[in-house]
Amino acid sequence: MIRFENVTKVYDQKARPALDSVNLEIDRGEFAFLVGASGSGKSTFLRLVLKEDRATSGAVYVAGQNVAKISSWRVPRLRRGIGVVFQDFRLLPQKNVFANVAFAMQVIGKSRSVIRDTVPEVLKTVGLEGKEHRMPHELSGGEQQRVAIARAVVNRPGILLADEPTGNLDPTTSMGIMGVLDKINQNGTTVVMATHDDDIVNEMRKRVVELKNGVVIRDEAKALYTSMIPVVGQSRRLKDASGRDTPDAGQSGEGEGQR
């Protein structure tokens, strides 16, 4: 569904590349975590999938298409196939829950009757039935994020990108959000989630792709936030290089995993 072939992205010629020769394939229906410290290239990865930026070299394939070859007037069609959720929800404050979700359908020209049928259905999927007429400020953070997820998936995209969707939420609420994302994934949508949240990653036991300074240093199925094989090879070395807090994070991550 998403394939990166030797992708390098350089923002500033003098600095190190944001992504450095990344090769990665995420299959249809997969659920993948993208983990790594700030500046490791997670957001750049998501931006390249959305064609918000062009790769400096290499090729990005989304749903079989090389995004570099998509002409600018067809980019909207690419984006209709991708839902996006952010840490800060990005709801429209003057629209109620229903209107926020319906907005995503209106702007691509869906008819009123289709909207009337689809929106309540999606709101039910994310667990917000009966809250159609609430305004965003009347909702908790978790509920707001559910609205954002509903908006991202209402047009039934094949891919859902989530950029730290639980970053602003407490652990319990985060778990609720993960339940929603998992449900969407069960329905066949490919989910790629960039996160710092080790508890969630450890709980979910999904594929984990770890980025560090623009390089993929780990790609494990059913993995934990930090590697389960602490001594072997690259990851150990990088853990040492990354400084003080990583061993701590590693310890707590492993503890979580063993529990």
């Binding site: 007037w73 909207p76 984006r79 209709r80 429209l92 995503a104 702007v107």
Partner: protein, 304 residues
């Protein structure tokens, strides 16, 4: 559905920055009024040309008592001189250029003078003696004035030959100057309007960046995202242009049609109906200027 959506977006955009929209309307209104005023002046000039060029004539003024011109050294025109001028006018060499001519005596000249300046106190101080007699010639082709002038200027008893069209040309050049001034003011105001529209659209795009950001993410087409902004500018400009057209019509109807035509009953003024020709021109001009400037602004400030 999409149309309804775009319309509602336009409505909310116009409501959100009313003051900017009003200023766009006013600036386009003023600038297009100047454009229209220049257009009206040109129409008026054409109208007067058509009206006057049929009537104006070449006048051969004959020597009178007070004449100081070189040709009048021998005193006022004599009956023989007048007779020979008359026959010269009838000779085929000259007659081929003129439609007809008539002699205007001092008394007739005085009568015309009195009519023309009926409201002015100057009439009381003028006597028939002070006005020269003349031949009034109606040319077949007014451009051939030079031939008449050359033939008659040196004839005895002729004080001077005047092409009355030149008097009008002077008036027209004043009017042309005025319309040039109007066009220059309009030019400055249009630049003003374009910049103001660009700023307004920029503000509007900025205040709705949340919405447009989401629209991009869910894959709205460029048209759906940009059209509301462009139409916002276009609508404001078209309203301004409509106001300008209405103003021009009112000027033609009330000022020219009622006031001026009473003051100068023998002048042909353009009718209010004629100014309506300007309305579509102004509306298209205003609309396209606004459309182009918003489009260029959006290309810089609204990523799609």
């Amino acid at each position: 559905m999409r149309l309804a959506f775009i319309l509602s977006e336009i409505g909310s955009g116009l409501r959100r920055n009313v003051s900017m929209v009003v200023s766009v309307i006013l600036v386009t209104f003023v600038s297009l009024t100047f454009v229209g005023a220049a257009g009206m002046l040109q129409m008026q000039i054409n109208q007067m040309k058509g009206y006057w060029y049929d009537k104006v004539q070449v006048a051969i003024f004959l020597c009178s008592e007070g004449s100081t011109a070189a040709g009048c050294a021998s005193g006022p025109v004599t009956a023989e001189q007048q007779e020979s001028l008359n026959s010269l006018l009838e000779s085929p060499a000259v007659a081929q250029y003129i439609n007809n001519f008539q002699y205007e005596s001092k008394d007739e000249a005085y009568k015309h003078f009195k009519e023309q300046f009926s409201n002015s106190p100057i009439v009381d101080s003028v006597t028939p003696d002070q006005l020269p007699a003349s031949f009034r010639i109606n040319m077949k082709d007014p451009e051939k004035y030079q031939i008449i002038s050359e033939t008659f200027a040196s004839q005895p008893g002729v004080e001077t030959v005047i092409d009355q069209r030149q008097l009008l040309e002077r008036l027209f050049s004043v009017m042309n100057g005025a319309s040039l001034v109007a066009v220059s003011i309009a030019g400055v105001m249009i630049v003003c309007a374009i910049l103001l529209i660009a700023t307004t659209i920029r503000l509007s795009a900025f205040s709705r960046r949340r919405e447009t950001g989401i629209m991009r993410l869910v894959g709205a087409s460029k048209t759906v995202i940009q059209l509301p902004f462009i139409l916002e500018g276009v609508i404001a400009a078209v309203v301004g242009a409509a106001l300008a057209s209405a103003t021009l019509w009112a000027v033609a109807h009330f000022f020219l049609g009622q006031y001026m035509s009473q003051q100068y009953p023998d002048t042909a003024f353009i009718s209010a109906g004629q100014t309506l020709i300007l309305a579509p021109v102004l509306i298209i001009l205003g609309g396209s200027l606004a459309g182009i400037s918003s489009l260029l602004t959006l290309r810089r400030y609204l990523r799609v």
